[in-house]
């Protein structure tokens, strides 16, 4: 099985038709217009990093959905379903639970922490909870490491999509994509990001629903597609597809529990205007995510059936599943909409990472060493530019390096942030020693084992992933060290934080 990088790494088929180019240009124009509008409303660091805490619940939920899904949901994911069968669905299957889980575990606490302390970043919350600059700084380092990798892989994917649409070559594609995302991110910060995310998320959901309808129509319905596949490749239809059951269940563990540690989603809770509106967050977010993931499942399923039935030639690469289906079986305008949706998915993710990466450099690390920066808005913009340039250079420099960086992003976030956030904010017996131990465990295990795996010095049995082991180990370290140091727990909890944890 190839590593699941959650990102687009291989070139896409050429898509340059006037209709696709026209839809894509229109999409970029709307994004630019939203960026200009948001820039005029960005006047402070709070506007830049948490949209002035003035976002409504629909905008919050759809922006969180857009940030959650990268281009992988539209290209790599369907390709994975095509090649691995239903086992690949286990990457997104927890989505039916994770938003309600996140609402119960994190949403209220994060939002109220923002209210009480005026916090603006995820490491802020960890630092405040454990009264620990060290925990805040370490979590910021983890976020920064994962962010650069994630951004580089997403920027490469954006370059590939722009190259496929406009036919301008990969390098110009990378730099033009970076420049457009940077343009609205550096001027309007997360304020621009969250409202472009609203547009981009709506576009992704619309494109996904339309394509799903076409997959059912072209494939003749689920039963016909099942029968077509069963005739040639019954193993594909098993609940775990062609994966061992343990591998699929391991995906469920990592992507289900790991969702609680994704800073680009968690930090959006600070932005909500009225915390009482959280009542509808799980419903809106789960429906939005479920609808947008229809394409992920539908295209992989339909293309496998079309190939099995001899109506489509076997794909040269699994990542060709979506382009092949769109170019052969849907109207060209819909193809244009979907490819704009792919660009939208990538750009919304990149923008979120620009924001949290810049916040780690501008806000968290200086505070962790006791030297806060006076003008966080100006430095936030400067660091956004520098991070983006670094990511674009990495994306351009080396394909294998980019692939490596893409592998551990999700797992690093999960193993370093889930224990301190999901348990730490809900258990007053947790200690800063436990938090620091879990962050260090996640950092060392993920970076160390992924590096050894990349160098082919470490091989794990089927079904076991570094992300899963690191998440498990960091959770155990958090509970174990907190229990060993439990006598100190009460002293490490400020009264206002205790209030947030008790309500």
């Amino acid at each position: 099985m190839r590593p699941v990088t959650l990102l687009q790494e291989a070139a896409l088929p050429a898509l340059q038709t006037p209709q696709i180019v026209g839809v894509a240009l229109l999409y970029f124009l709307v994004v630019a217009a939203i960026g200009v509008w948001a820039t005029r409303r960005t006047r402070s660091a709070k506007d830049f990093f948490v949209a002035g805490s003035g976002v409504g619940i629909w905008t919050l939920a759809i922006a969180a959905m857009a940030a959650t899904l990268s281009g992988f949901a539209f290209i790599g994911g369907p390709g994975l379903v095509y090649s691995l069968g239903f086992g690949a669905v286990f990457l997104v299957l927890p989505a039916s639970l994770t938003n309600t889980l996140g609402a119960w575990v994190l949403a209220k606490r994060m939002r109220l922490l923002g209210e009480v302390r005026g916090l603006i970043t995820v490491p802020d919350a960890i630092g405040a909870r454990f009264r620990s600059p060290a925990a805040q700084g370490l979590s910021a380092v983890a976020i920064l490491v994962a962010t650069v990798g994630y951004m580089a892989t997403n920027v490469l994917a954006l370059g590939l999509v722009i190259d496929a649409i406009f036919g301008i070559g990969l390098t110009p594609g990378i730099w033009i994509g970076t420049a457009i995302t940077l343009g609205y991110s550096v001027s309007g910060g997360i304020m621009a990001g969250v409202y472009t995310d609203l547009f981009q998320g709506s576009l992704m959901a619309l494109a996904s629903v339309l394509v799903f309808v076409f997959t059912l129509q072209v494939g003749g319905g689920a039963l016909a597609m099942t029968d077509a596949i069963a005739a040639v490749d019954a193993a594909w239809l098993a609940p775990w597809g062609k994966l061992p059951a343990l591998a699929a269940l391991s995906f469920f563990f990592v992507f289900g529990i790991g969702s609680l540690g994704q800073p680009h989603v968690v930090h959006k809770f600070y932005m909500l205007r009225d915390p009482r509106r959280l009542r509808w967050y799980p419903l809106i977010m789960t429906v939005a995510l479920g609808v947008t993931l229809l394409l992920y499942v539908g295209v992989g399923f339909a293309v496998r059936a079309l190939v099995a039935g001899g109506r489509l030639a076997a794909l040269a690469s699994p990542d060709d599943a979506t382009p092949a289906f769109l170019l052969h079986f849907t109207p060209v305008l819909l193809a244009g909409l979907v490819f704009s949706g792919v660009a939208a998915a990538i750009m919304s993710t990149v923008n979120s990472f620009m924001s949290i990466g810049a916040a780690a450099l501008t806000h968290d690390l200086p505070r962790a060493i006791g030297r806060p920066i006076a003008n966080e808005l100006r430095w936030g913009r400067i660091f956004t530019v520098l991070l983006s340039l670094a990511a674009a250079l990495v994306a351009q420099a080396s394909g294998t390096l980019v692939a490596f960086l893409g592998i551990f992003g999700w797992g690093l976030f999960a193993s370093t942030l889930v224990p301190a956030l999901a348990i730490g904010l809900n258990w007053d017996g947790a200690t800063r020693e436990g938090a620091i131990a879990s962050i260090m465990t996640g950092l060392v295990l993920t970076l160390g084992c992924e590096s050894l795996g990349y160098l082919k010095l470490l091989t794990l049995p089927a079904g076991v992933t570094v992300s899963g082991l690191a998440l498990l180990a960091s959770l155990v370290a958090f509970l174990g060290v907190s229990w060993l140091t439990r006598a100190r727990a009460a002293q490490q909890l400020d009264p206002d934080i205790r209030l947030v944890m008790e309500v």
Binding site: S96, N99, T100, V105, T226, R276, R279, N426, L479
Partner: protein
């Protein structure tokens, strides 16, 4: 469910997940029980984290009885559907039974885990919101503390507001 019970379940869940991974290292391929351990671990982990997050009040206080339904539902769906995927015999080949267009095992897992929680959990959350998640008096207490923090001399004002809100100061603060 009390917080301490949720924490014990969380520890048990981690032990199950750990056992699942350990079973994969067995020579000659993963042990058959490894997948079952992972199913139980994942289900317990989801439920214990939900209970921990939904718990209110100081110390060992926990969740109300109303939360029992969504928690039990989540556990039953995860163990039942994923377990059915493991326990039922394969029937994917041509001529096998189909359920809603898919082979039975895949249908139970994909529709059961992918769709059923969507129909129940967001509504359970919304329904429990006023009683279990966020009350008007919670917001009033939080706003009071936030206002006090925003005032000049915020530390003293914050302590006064917390005293008024009924939250006990930490030993260090109290000293």
């Amino acid at each position: 469910m009390r917080r301490v019970t949720a924490l014990r379940l969380l520890a048990l869940a981690l032990a199950c997940v750990g056992a699942g991974y350990a079973g994969a290292f067995r020579a000659g391929g993963a042990a058959p029980w490894a997948s079952w351990a992972m199913v139980c671990g994942v289900a317990l982990l989801m439920v214990s984290l939900m209970a921990l997050g939904a718990a209110r009040g100081a110390g060992t206080a926990g969740v109300t009885r109303g939360m029992a339904v969504p928690l039990a539902f989540t556990f039953a769906v995860l163990v039942g559907c994923l377990g059915a995927g493991l326990a039922l015999p394969p029937g994917e080949a041509t001529g096998g039974a189909r359920l809603l267009g898919l082979p039975v095992r895949a249908a139970i897992v994909l529709y059961g885990v992918g769709v059923l929680p969507l129909l129940v959990l967001p509504f359970a959350y919304a329904r429990s919101f006023d009683a279990q998640v966020l009350r008007e008096d919670d917001l009033a207490r939080i706003s009071e503390v936030a206002r006090a923090h925003a005032l000049p001399g915020r530390a003293c004002a914050g302590r006064e507001a917390l005293k008024a809100s009924g939250t006990t100061a930490s030993p260090r603060e109290g000293a």
